[in-house]
């Protein structure tokens, strides 16, 4: 019964083909460092899922942001767990994505024909850091406030256009409700959209080009 149902679906959806192309690829002999891409993807999904759950209670307004986070942590059942995973997952994701980049660099996996995979990876690394930066403000506590004050001040030192960049980031000359709202928007809509789309390209390239072997004495 299950078998016939599967065959019916397979005939129409091409599940076997997808499996063969996506998962059953030929790979050279590799080591554990090659799992970091999958780990990054997994962390992104975890961050996405826990992030969606956090928006159930979080309010991106200076009046309520801090209180709503306290509510999640102290009163909502398993709120501490959902936010805890999101909090620690964020740090872990930056770490894993960065080590993933180091592996690619030291194994020279960014060379022909994988330049675009590398470039899309750079976009993903920067977007991940952007997620960390925008997410850091959202709890709206003292640490978040002052970290963002400093973080938005840094591009202000760029000659000529610096102050303009700072006020674009802040939505005005100082940190305000506008800053919190735009950081929230960037954190949950703009950057996740960029990351999801870029992961699509990144994975397509990995599947199309295959992964490179570990350099040896013949390279």
């Amino acid at each position: 019964m299950v078998r016939r149902l599967f065959q019916w679906l397979d005939e129409r959806l091409g599940l076997t083909t997808i499996h063969d192309v996506v998962l059953d690829r030929k790979v050279p002999k590799v080591n554990w460092w090659f799992t970091l891409g999958s780990a990054s993807l997994f962390l992104f999904l975890i961050q996405g899922i826990t992030g969606v759950f956090l928006t159930v209670y979080y309010v991106p307004s200076p009046d309520h942001a801090y209180d709503s986070v306290q509510y999640i942590m102290n009163e909502v059942r398993f709120g501490w767990l959902i936010r805890g995973i999101h909090h620690w997952g964020a740090t872990l994701m930056v770490l894993v994505v960065f080590i993933h980049m180091l592996r690619t660099f030291f194994y020279a996996a960014y060379k022909y024909p994988r330049e675009l995979t590398w470039i899309s990876g750079v976009v993903l690394l920067l977007a991940t850091l952007g997620m960390g930066f925008t997410g850091y403000l959202l709890p709206w506590n003292q640490r978040a406030y002052w970290a963002t004050t400093v973080g938005t001040q840094i591009p202000g030192t760029i000659p000529f256009i610096g102050p303009f960049i700072t006020s674009v980031m802040r939505g005005g000359s100082e940190l305000s409700a506008l800053t919190l709202a735009r950081f929230f928007s960037v954190h949950i809509w703009f950057l996740p959209a960029v990351i999801a789309a870029t992961i699509g390209l990144h994975l397509y390239l990995v599947i199309r080009l295959g992964i490179s072997h570990i350099p040896d004495e013949n390279d």
Partner: protein, 161 residues
């Protein structure tokens, strides 16, 4: 290899992989259900005795309005609700307390001294001094609170929805 009665390496990895995935899914998925249902599972503790002051403050046989507010917490926000009750002292030791919320559509009724009636301004509901219906669209008489007197002080028992 295919004829072996034992698991192949590939089958083993598939089974272990599925088991670990299920475990992780359950570890995050089950708490997530509790997370979503959490506010609905909270018990709303809305019962308390409200102090209306010394009984002697209230004149005999004349409904007197007493107002107070109660603050309720909804997640990260506090909502303050105001209440009004009419205290009717029927004898030096006996008292009845009525809600000023009309039983029709929850407008507030007012005691009119000149006609000796509670009148609801919304749909012209009239209640007698003891809260019973005189005329109007209201389905039942004014709601009455349970009272107690301790050391000369009047209390009512408030149940919040």
């Amino acid at each position: 290899m295919d004829n072996s009665p034992n698991l192949t390496r590939r089958q083993f990895v598939t089974v272990i992989g599925a088991a670990i995935s299920t475990l992780i899914g359950a570890a995050v998925g089950l708490p997530a259900i509790g997370y979503l249902l959490s506010p609905a599972l909270e018990k709303q503790e809305g019962e308390s005795w409200i102090l209306l002051g010394p009984l002697d403050n209230y004149p005999l046989n004349q409904p007197t309005l007493f107002t107070f507010t109660r603050t309720k917490k909804h997640g990260w926000e506090k909502t303050t609700t105001s209440y009004g009750v009419y205290v009717l002292r029927t004898s030096p030791t006996e008292v009845r307390v009525f809600s000023n919320v009309c039983t029709h559509l929850s407008c507030r009724v007012t005691w009119k001294e000149e006609v000796q009636e509670y009148i609801c301004p919304c749909h012209d509901g009239h209640f007698a001094i003891d809260g019973s219906i005189i005329s109007g669209p209201q389905p039942r008489s004014l709601d009455e609170y349970e009272t107690k007197i301790e050391d000369g002080n009047l209390f009512i028992f408030l149940k919040e929805a």
